[in-house]
């Protein structure tokens, strides 16, 4: 159960949020000009880094705003939270993305979830 620092509301439990996948994947300006392979890359291909990952979250049970989170996929430490449209923090170096094989099987089960019965 992550503790996510919503840029508008402050720290809240993970189950108030909705995950939105990798951040900073802009929709192509003119999709018609893309090859099938290029479009498929935009549509389906996502990084799966072991380490720093920039991702989108939405505060579903709060302010309903989307924002970006930089999270370590191994330790689950959140190293930055920033608003849509803001540049990612310069100091933090994200792990190389696109290497889908780099993540080892997680050694300790599912990312922490509350036991059943949480607010959904």
């Amino acid at each position: 159960m992550l503790l996510i620092d919503c840029p508008w509301c402050g720290p809240r439990d993970e189950n108030e949020f909705q995950y939105g996948g990798e951040a900073h994947i802009a929709r192509p300006k003119d999709p018609a000009l893309l090859s099938d392979a290029q479009w498929a890359d935009y549509l389906f291909m996502r990084g799966n880094p072991k380490g720093r990952h920039r991702e989108r979250w939405m505060h579903r049970s709060g302010c309903r705003r989307w924002f970006n989170v930089e999270r370590d996929t191994v330790s689950h430490a959140i190293t930055a939270v920033y608003r849509m449209g803001e540049a990612p923090p310069a100091t933090a170096k994200p792990a190389a993305t696109g290497d889908a094989t780099s993540a080892e099987p997680r050694s300790s089960g599912d990312p922490g979830q509350w036991p059943a019965g949480g607010a959904e």
Binding site: M1, L2, L3, D13, E14, Q18, G20, A26, R27, D30, P31, A32, L34, D36, W39, A40, L43, R56, M58, R60, R64, R65, W66, S75, H76, A77, I78, M84, G85, S107, S108, G109, P111, G112, Q113, W114, P115, A116, G117, G118
Partner: protein, 1008 residues
């Protein structure tokens, strides 16, 4: 009522029980007496009862092994009737007057058990026996499983609903301390003195940990006074601090990310039943700035031949029964150990008046103070010896001992038989690193001690005491105090530098590690060396599994089921790893551990559910007209959280009778539907039209004010996401409708695109689903009905055409009237502010009487729309269907981009032979196809057959007097006119493929 035959003398072993407060209880139908402060296990031991159950696989007689949450054997069925609970550890069940418990997993009785034949047949029940024996033929597994479950069955669930209530509590604290032994108490004191908000929890009823029951703690001296006096002063100080919450009887069972922890508080498990309004248990969901884990250590058994007889137990537990409960585990206790701690147990028992038959020590050169103390009391010590077998009809009555060879690989010399009525064994102590590991702390292996210790962690936690490998009382107190102060500092408080509580430091001699104690027979012959008592896994099973190739610790666990019982292998897991390492000639540290997962001990469903049961499980949403539907006798169906009328049966009518009547009325007279549940989103902003143009597949920028349009939304992969009618109310103002179930999803979808991709668009979305009540009237008399109630709107078909919206006063109520149709009939959807919904409905019903107005429910609505071939997203689509697959090319703009457009020209999406929406007509018009039925072109006598698709919607249409169906069929558009088949289990149905429009294909009726 029987004498408490094994209760020790109060002067020698006072314990923590109240001898002036006897309690009666019943175990396996027989009455006994115990004292307040007893657990069920200690009370049974005080009465000389050791046989408490039968083992899972071999049905071997089993006794109490431990004294706490580690107990693998003493699982009982506690209480009777609606409160009965299986798998309760007798070692944790506090005794109350009138307690009733019974053994599980034995039939017909614990003393005479038919399943014990399994033990004699154990050669056919080796490791992995489930997988080998019962998997073929596949269909027989269900049969075998039933037999296995009945034979094994760990307890029974109650038949009646749980009468108790369970609560849930969310809490925050600066420092959570788990475990209230000496380390935990010292940590809580240090943190609380620094001003931190502290929660201290402990799974036992009384706080104090080893000070209550462990030979090292009982009788010890802390800061110059008796340890228990120190503990009660510490608890008094903590209790009087308003920033400290003490939670006894509370198990911290889950440690999740970012210091989120889950605790189960057993509020009223220790009494016959909760007081009025008192919860039975309470689930705490806690977020802590810092955590101190002071979870202690769990003693491990020795793996020797037939080490599972009743009466064979952990040495520390044997001592605990004597010192904490004043109960003797035997009159002549044999101690078997590889380390010093069992000597202290022996001394404590001896001093409490229990006879000690001797101490068998695996170490050839046993020495040091505990050894000398034992010898000084005249206790015989057999150093460098091992127990090679045990004997007894059920309970142990003797053990055989032999001298170990130098390597510890075999035994030699004469066999010595030692008479005894209990064996207290100790294979050392495992730090209770479960929570630490759940928190994804890395463990490190200490080869000298043969234990896993906390290593590195990324969470804001510290480990203190024997959980961290600190074995002496002084070290536990020092580590606890330091960890508590550091946790408070890290949480922003200033801890005064005060000396830690002081106690003696004692250094033990090293233990001798033998994962399997050899006997005079090869492993697996002539007896069993149990590693996992609960799941009946032996050392030989592990060897066999490794020989069969299960060398990974995770595979070994699943194949042998070692550590997979309700105790999760608290006693035997490290042994299993050690044996695996030995057999594979690896280091236990390299073998690694299996994953520790929550919960630490089993947690009841009631605890997890809390109050979210019954009517409180999920909110119920009702419309403004709900009361009318109830009064009209509607049968409701759940659509998401909404209650919607399914149909309105008249007396004597079945579902089909009612639906047939309702659908006819809508096509011949006038029907009325409560459509309030449709999702409604108010969209405003100068760029609203441009936004919709990007979201919907069709064009929106030129839609006139007051006109409505049907639209599809696709996901970026081109698949249909939702549909609905959206109306332009003003240049920058739209009213969008969505499917009932899709309302929240669509709003989120719009917000996501507006916020993340196109923040430059000035557009704002608001859910107005619950602000508007909607009555949809449909049928040839709809216009006349509207005219009769009065609207202030020119209802002429030219002035108010199809797909238009007009504002007016319907029956005197301000309304938006939409001329849209989900039935294909002349239809109006009248939207009024929700508080007027009932008034509108009543006015329409009253005025509609002369037209035979007929309320219809969702079933009739489905039939009516299917007659027209209108799809329902989520029923006729499944996330793999494009608008073109639905035959709706006309709704897909060629001129502009929209979400998902590019995907429609991907090679697979553009294929001509995709599954496409078609209509199906059965040869026999009376036969209604089952929804989900598979469709084939070529019938074969039996599966497999090449499947072309499936039936998505299927009804009997009273208006057509025949059945109709919609289906997704591969290359379906090309098959129109062809015959296909729907093979079922008992028959095959021949169908003809037709256009998916059964009534009024030109759409004249809705334009009327």
């Amino acid at each position: 009522m029987s004498e408490q035959s094994h209760r020790l003398d109060a002067a020698a072993a006072p314990g923590r029980i109240d001898r002036g407060h006897p309690l009666r209880f019943v175990f396996n139908g027989r009455g006994y007496e115990g004292f307040a402060g007893d657990t069920l296990a200690s009370a049974l031991i005080a009465n000389g009862v050791h046989l408490v159950g039968r083992s899972f696989k071999y049905h071997r007689p089993r006794g109490i092994v431990g004294s706490g949450s580690e107990e693998p054997n003493a699982l009982v069925q506690l209480r009777t009737g609606e409160r009965t609970e299986p798998n309760v550890r007798a070692t944790q069940a506090e005794l109350f007057d009138g307690l009733i418990a019974s053994s599980q997993n034995c039939w017909p009785s614990v003393g005479f058990d038919l399943g014990a034949i399994n033990d004699m047949a154990s050669r056919i029940l080796p490791a992995g026996f489930y997988y080998k024996t019962f998997m073929w033929p596949p269909s027989a597994w269900m049969f075998y499983e039933g037999l296995i479950r009945r034979a094994a069955g760990l307890g029974r669930a109650p038949d009646d609903p749980d009468p108790d209530r369970y609560e849930k509590r969310f809490a925050h604290c600066d420092v959570l301390v788990v475990g209230a032994g000496p380390a935990g108490l010292a940590a809580a004191l240090a943190a609380a003195r620094a001003g931190a908000r502290v929660v201290l929890c402990d799974e036992q009823a009384e706080m104090g940990g080893q000070l209550l029951a462990h030979p090292r703690g009982v009788g010890a001296v802390i800061d110059g006074r008796p340890a228990l006096d120190w503990a009660s002063a510490a608890l008094g100080e903590l209790a009087s601090n308003k920033d400290v919450t003490l939670l006894p009887r509370t198990t911290c069972f889950g440690y999740y990310d970012h210091n989120a922890l889950a605790l189960a508080e057993r509020v009223a498990d220790h009494v016959a039943k909760p007081r009025q309004f008192q919860p039975r248990q309470r689930l705490w969901k806690l977020r802590a700035r810092r955590v101190v884990l002071a979870t202690g250590a769990i003693e491990r058994p020795l793996v020797f031949r037939d080490n599972d007889r009743p009466g064979i137990m952990l040495a520390g537990s044997a001592a605990a029964y004597g010192m904490r409960y004043g109960a003797a585990v035997g009159r002549r206790v044999l101690v078997f150990t590889n380390n010093d701690s069992a000597y202290r147990a022996a001394l404590a028992l001896f001093d409490a008046g229990v006879g000690i038959a001797g101490i068998v020590d695996l170490r050839p050169a046993a020495s040091g103070k505990p050894v000398e103390d034992a010898r000084a009391r005249g206790i015989e010590v057999l150093a460098g010896w091992a127990l090679t077998a045990t004997d007894g009809p059920s309970k142990v009555r003797a053990a055989l001992a032999m001298q170990l060879d130098e390597a510890g690989a075999g035994v030699q010399g004469p066999i010595r038989r030692i008479e005894c009525d209990a064996i207290a064994m100790s294979g050392g102590w495992n730090p209770a690193v479960h929570l630490y590991s759940q928190a994804r702390g890395k463990l490190r292996y200490d080869g000298a001690q043969g234990i896993f210790l906390p290593g590195r962690t990324e969470q804001a936690l510290a480990v203190a005491g024997s959980c961290n490998g600190a074995w002496s009382l002084g070290a536990c107190l020092a580590e606890g105090a330091a960890a508590g102060a550091a946790a408070a500092e890290a949480a922003g408080f200033t801890a005064a530098s005060a000396p830690a509580p002081a106690a003696a430091e004692e250094n033990d001699s090293p233990a001798r590690l033998l994962w399997v104690v050899p006997s005079d027979r090869p492993l697996g012959e002539g007896g069993k060396h149990f590693v996992d008592f609960q799941n009946d896994v032996t050392a030989a099973d592990i060897g066999l599994a490794v020989r069969e190739g299960y060398k990974s610790v995770e595979h070994l666990k699943r194949y042998t089921t070692s550590g997979m019982g309700t105790d999760q292998g608290k006693l035997g897991n490290v042994h299993a790893l050690g044996i695996l390492a030995e057999v594979t000639a690896a280091e236990p540290g390299a073998v690694g551990t299996t994953t520790f997962r929550p919960p630490y001990t089993p947690v009841g469903f009631g605890t997890l559910a809390g109050r979210d049961v019954g009517a409180l499980a999920d909110p119920v949403r009702t419309t403004a007209m709900h009361g009318w539907h109830v009064a009209a006798g509607a049968v409701f169906e759940d659509v998401g959280q909404w209650k919607r009328p399914h149909y309105y049966p008249r007396p004597g009518e079945s579902l089909h009778d009612a639906v047939n009547r309702e659908v006819k009325a809508a096509r011949t007279g006038v029907g009325i539907l409560d459509a309030s549940t449709l999702g409604k989103i108010d969209i405003q902003g100068p760029d609203a039209a441009e936004f919709l143009n990007r979201i919907y597949t069709n064009a929106w920028t030129k839609l006139e004010i007051g006109r409505a349009r049907y639209g599809f939304m696709c996901r970026e992969d081109g698949m249909v996401f939702d549909d609905g009618v959206t109306t332009r109310l003003a240049a920058g103002h739209f009213h969008m409708t969505t499917t009932t179930g899709g309302a929240a999803r669509v709003l989120s979808w719009l917000e996501e695109w507006a916020q993340t991709e196109w923040p430059e668009l000035r557009v704002y979305m608001t859910s107005v689903t619950e602000q508007w009540a909607v009555a949809a009237i449909a049928g040839p008399h709809a216009r006349a009905l509207l005219a009769k109630v009065g609207t202030g709107i020119d209802l002429d078909a030219k002035a108010f055409p199809f797909m238009a919206m007009r504002e007016g006063n319907v029956a005197g109520i301000p309304a938006r009237v939409f001329r849209i149709s989900f039935t294909g009939e002349l239809s109006y959807e009248i939207n009024v502010p929700a508080r007027y919904g009932m008034a509108l409905w009543q006015a329409l019903m009253a005025a509609g009487a002369e037209f035979g107005i007929t309320p219809y429910g969702t079933e009739a609505m489905h039939v009516l729309r299917a007659e027209k071939g209108f799809v329902i997203v989520g029923q006729d689509t499944d996330g793999t269907v494009t608008p073109i697959d639905l035959g709706m090319d006309w709704i897909v703009s060629k001129a502009k981009d929209f979400i998902g457009k590019r995907s429609l020209s991907r090679a697979d999406t553009a294929r001509g032979d995709r599954k496409q929406l078609v209509g199906l007509l059965t040869d026999d018009p009376r036969v209604v196809l089952p929804e989900g039925g598979q469709i084939v072109a070529e019938l074969k006598p039996e599966p497999p057959m090449a499947m072309l698709g499936h039936v998505t919607s299927s009804y009997f249409s009273a208006n057509l007097d025949r059945s109709i169906a919609l289906a997704l069929v591969r290359n379906g558009r090309q098959r129109i006119g062809a015959a296909l088949h729907v093979p079922l289990a008992d028959r095959n149905i021949r169908v003809k493929v037709v256009e998916p429009k059964f009534i009024d294909p030109e759409g004249r009726r809705q334009d009327g």
